[in-house]
Symmetry: C2
Subunit: 185 residues, 2 copies
Amino acid sequence: MINYPNNKKTYNKFKSFANRGMKLEEMINATNEYYLEKDIAVIHKKPTPIQVVKIDNTGKSGKIIDAYFKSPSTTDYNGIYKGRYIDFEAKETNNKTSFPLGNLSEHQIKHLRAVKEHGGIAFIILSFNHFDEIYLLDADMVVEFYYSSKKKSIPYDIIKEKGHVIRKGYFNKLEYLEVVDKVYL
Amino acid sequence: MINYPNNKKTYNKFKSFANRGMKLEEMINATNEYYLEKDIAVIHKKPTPIQVVKIDNTGKSGKIIDAYFKSPSTTDYNGIYKGRYIDFEAKETNNKTSFPLGNLSEHQIKHLRAVKEHGGIAFIILSFNHFDEIYLLDADMVVEFYYSSKKKSIPYDIIKEKGHVIRKGYFNKLEYLEVVDKVYL
């Protein structure tokens, strides 16, 4: 029984899907494809690291039959924009009061810090799913909170104050390079 | 029967192993670890792209039981050095007369060209295994030969003339950033 659109719960579910549209990762990937095609930037998602244990070579091409996901030692995205090295990680949270930094590994935190120290542009793209808000958080701020906050999280209020809202364009294009222009260039 | 070191063939085999030492990829990875540890550069190998088809979730952590290797759309290595975006692919050849460009996909060629156009540093690290020589070839030269040479290869003579020899340091450290300094910075 589907009571859409009168059943409020069901309606909200649809509404929430419509608002969020694509998942954050899908939005970023589509945006990067657009940037690449329009020759604006060359930014790619790195493949998910997988440890291959066993390959079945009986077929034409090797089929992996035993493997497992490894935890990444760097971030998901990197590339070049206006001659600058860009590096970032994308995270979503359903939390309403803060961004829990346990979502990031210490490897990733150290990587973001190293990129900044070497003159690169490094940040987190963070989606507060509940508010349908997406922020760019500079790596320095994230690194600082990672090592100084007892709760290992950044309060929502501080993100609202110090983060930079990323606008969604048509077709869920996530205009994060607009924010990069404003914040870093 | 092992006649080492009098049997010339066996001896040569050992000699060749000693010379080559590690495989090119292992040498680059070890060198990048060194660069990272010494805070010289942040350059990582991207994970091999794998398409996961099926995961067995009966155990504690998901075990991948069906997957296959995808062909990479970019290069193997990228990162930041002295504030500059660096991007390269590593290739070995047993060929004695030329570097066959069929070793590179058109995706990779286009990627290298795009990186150069956006102000990045892009090249191939090429090992001529037979001569135990390793060269840095600027992306422009590789792109040019890819689209202009009928044989889709770069003759060894031209590589000797226009390529840049990369020195092996102690413990097979591949001093490719020395060459980057000289050629690009």
